[in-house]
Symmetry: C2
Subunit: 191 residues, 2 copies
């Protein structure tokens, strides 16, 4: 029963990996230590932690907020990760407050979409921005973040991505964010 979940991903910052870390900003709260590169591993988190500057984990999971109509619209436009044209990436780690987690589903949905248009906003940036969301609040080991989101896009889409973040960070939903890290990366040419 100690086999890793097939939906578990590890983000290992250190000296290895195909992504060069170019920016490491603490948007809200405590920063993450600086590192040169990021390695993303599929369900294999026994990788030498001693060798890492930091190591975060999360699982992909079922949809928590989107409705069927929204999901169908997303599925029609969502690009995959790994596109050759997507040389840039962002890794956004977020922890929300206990006040957020004490809300009920209808209250959280109301804030996320009715008040903050999080889903509709994200949709406007498709298919430019590829995205994979990982949940870490409910893992067996205590985690510093609730969500890890990995984004990939072309260098020409950086302004659009920055604009999306700017709108989200000004939203009602973001008033419940108590820690946020924004890492920017580019694909290394040597791997």
């Amino acid at each position: 029963m100690t086999k890793a979940s097939q939906r578990l991903f590890g983000f290992l910052a250190g000296r290895r990996g195909p992504w060069i870390i170019q920016g490491n900003m603490a948007v809200i709260g405590e920063a993450l230590p600086a590192a040169e590169r990021l390695l993303i591993v599929d369900y294999a988190c026994e990788l030498a932690e001693a060798d890492c500057t930091w190591h975060l984990e999360g699982v992909t999971s079922h949809d928590r907020y989107v409705t069927r109509d929204e999901k169908n619209a997303l599925l029609a436009q969502q690009p995959p990760l790994g596109r050759l044209s997507a040389d840039c990436a962002a890794f956004i780690a977020v922890r929300k407050s206990s006040a957020w987690w004490a809300l009920t589903q209808d209250e959280r949905r109301n804030i996320i979409e009715d008040q903050s248009q999080h889903i509709a906003l994200g949709m406007r940036y498709l298919p430019a921005i590829a995205r994979r969301l990982h949940h870490c609040r409910d893992l067996q080991t205590a985690q510093p973040f609730d969500f890890l989101t990995w984004f990939e896009f072309a260098i020409t889409d950086i302004p659009a991505f920055d604009q999306l973040l700017k709108i989200l960070r000004a939203s009602i939903e973001w008033q419940f964010v108590e820690r946020e890290i924004d890492l920017r990366l580019v694909r290394a040419r040597d791997v």
Copy 2:
């Protein structure tokens, strides 16, 4: 980062523990091996697994389906675990199908409540039945179940509890259950 989550609980079946296992029924799918006793541990799952017949884990988490009105009604009536009058317990482990997890939030809520009245039904058995729900689908290690639910009640409430299960198992929601274990327990007098 290897500290256990404070919301993690372990269920260890073997020869130790304050709960005597009197019934172990596979309602749907594969059975769990027989054992004498059950021990429930708070976020401390390094306990010798070799000493256990089986060992399951889950985390308590935020509400996934209840609305604010439903939550307030539940909070007003939900009893705590550990009541002296509650000498009986049940441990229900459930895995739902991939078809269930492919549904969106509005679709799952529609099945759980509009079609199956899961929340309203449970409410009718309060405050007789105390309950704690644990999630295990999104843990780091692969798990055989999605949910573990622990129930405590008085011996006189066994018929009511059985009736609740009978109604739930006949619901539309249960058509998505692909494995279910129903363990019945009584509090040991020797601990």
